[in-house]
Symmetry: C2
Subunit: 354 residues, 2 copies
């Protein structure tokens, strides 16, 4: 059987109606509300064909049709026009996005918030992957007799530090040597490389510095590196599911929250997704718990480095055109923001430790 022009139009109408109302849509509804110039009976015949072809399903013998996943896939791939956001919409989004933002991780969190607010779905965002970020500068700053602060600065500009308690007082000079040594050894290495390096053997020269390092600084150093590598997952708009008819069932709501409560899982799954605008519909998601959901994600990045993700999760019946536009607009904005703040100075200052 052929997917004629008319069948496509009818399919599209059914999808549009179902997305809006969440109710199975009947032939009369289509004929009334969409000006296709054909009668309900004809539409019924076409619907019957579409069902046979796998694009529609019947919840029950009577009652209207519901688009299948195959239909959504077709819609997303072929039928869906790109929805351009109006200038005023863009303004609103941008304004919300940059409200109260002063750090980049903050911006990511904010993006998830805005996204959930605009789409009325559950949104999430991954902070930039740090696998590609490199160490730039390490310092040990004495605070008092037995406390030093270990400071690590990465090329992306992230600063991280840990207070380290020493087992005995240490000369400033020793700290200086150690810091210089560490900067020399590690700058230019990615965080994960640094994490794997056999650190000890790089400190043969100065026995005291080496002992200091091994006993006091190393644990904090490793922990801080791990911490810097961590990709944060932000979620927002979880409660939006309560306004989705599909989740008016308490059991469904519960399982939804349970799935999304396992943040570590979610993070792994998001990280594993391909880059670019990716839409997975219903069963296309490996996870059985998500087999009634669609997930839309897109990546933001700065010249191929530092890639993070942004997306939503919602019922398969979602406004794919609108969602993709908003997600795209947001990732564009984030990428831009990273360009401005993050990418500037890549000259290193490894010799300026004082």
């Amino acid at each position: 059987m052929d997917l004629t022009e008319r069948k496509l139009k009818i399919l599209q109408a059914i999808i549009a109606d179902f997305v809006r109302t969440a109710e199975p849509v009947g032939s009369r509804t289509i004929s009334r509300n969409y000006e296709l110039g054909i009668s309900p009976a004809t539409i019924r015949n076409e619907m019957s064909d579409l069902e046979e072809m796998g694009y529609l399903t019947h919840p029950h013998t009577s009652s209207g049709r519901v688009p299948s996943e195959k239909a959504y896939r077709l819609y997303v791939n072929e039928l869906m026009g790109k929805k351009e956001l109006s200038e005023s919409e863009k303004m609103v989004i941008a304004q919300k996005l940059y409200q109260n933002v002063n750090e980049l991780d903050n911006l990511i969190e904010r993006a998830a918030h805005v996204l959930s607010e605009i789409t009325n779905l559950t949104a999430f965002a991954l902070s930039p992957g740090k696998e590609l970020d490199k160490l730039r500068y390490i310092n040990l700053i004495p605070v008092d007799e037995r406390t030093v602060v270990l400071m690590i600065v990465s090329e992306s500009g992230k600063v991280s530090n840990t207070a380290v308690q020493l087992d005995r007082p240490v000369e400033d000079e020793t700290l200086r040597i150690l810091a210089k040594n560490m900067t020399y050894n590690y700058s230019g290495k990615t965080l994960s490389e640094a994490l794997k390096m056999d650190i000890i053997k790089n400190f043969r020269e100065d026995a005291e510095a080496m002992a200091m390092f091994r006993n006091n600084v190393m644990p904090g150093f490793l922990r801080t590196l791990e911490d810097m590598l961590n990709v944060n997952l932000y979620m927002d708009g979880l409660t939006n599911i309560f306004s989705i008819p599909e989740y008016n069932d308490i059991e469904k709501a519960k399982s939804f929250f349970e799935v999304l409560g396992r943040k570590e899982d979610i993070r792994q799954k998001l990280i594993a997704r391909d880059d670019g605008m990716i839409i997975t519909i219903g069963g296309e998601n490996q996870d059985a718990d998500l087999s009634e959901c669609s997930v839309v994600t897109a990546t933001y990045h700065v010249d191929g480095k530092l890639v993070g993700k942004l997306g939503v999760i919602g019922p398969t019946r979602m406004k794919y055109d609108e969602v993709t536009s908003v997600v795209e607009y947001l990732t564009d904005n984030i990428s831009k923001a990273f360009m401005i703040t993050g990418g500037e100075d890549t000259d290193d200052g490894k010799d300026r430790g004082d």
Copy 2:
């Protein structure tokens, strides 16, 4: 009418039963399951009295009795025995608490998690209030030509820093002077005092340092102070409400999530609560949205300073004795942990800026 011994016993039995089952409890149930040696009819008479006195209510003309808020209040104040945790329970809690903990804020977060897990309620925790924390040490560390890191260490041991972009290269010497100046001016001040001080006038001596400060460092300094003052709110076990019969209604669940979603509100309200073990029952909570909930909070602290809170929110029908025991045990543990890690060295190192 008098609250006779027998009436109290009956009331206690009703509360115990209702807390366990969430079902209105009838006279037969009491006579069957609690050995009071009196017949259902007698119990009915007593119940009738208790209702008149305001301790019980009738959901409907038939069907058993439900404890009123007044009853819970009486129970909490007078009837409830202190439930001692067994050693093995304590072990389990302590073990869960210290799993994966390496920072103090982390411990607070963990405590909320454990608390929700043990009580099957929604738990929250406030990180230590920082109003009493004082600045100890400030430094400016050159990273490269135009980047310095502003580092602030507080007496409680919290380290915070911001990367600051300079409008022009600055001598290390200038940074050193400025950092020394700042440390001299601010150390010993509480964070909020420092935030309010007229900063500029303290830098008359050195024109260059002053200009540097005004143009580059000040914004980051203020922002970082604000950041350090922030009291974090952690919540855990939100989905536990799905296992509470009272919230089997989707509308109730929704409004619960909506109330707890307004984190800023929650935070303010928790901060505003008195110190010590505080139990507010139903309507005693000002907030209308919480009029069907009870809130239990307790404070942890280190010699009167650095006070934070820990607690749960759940249906008025909760195991007050168990909840208070667990909360108390956890706050004790947190206080202890702060003592070990936080309270040690209070000697300042203001002159060790390098």
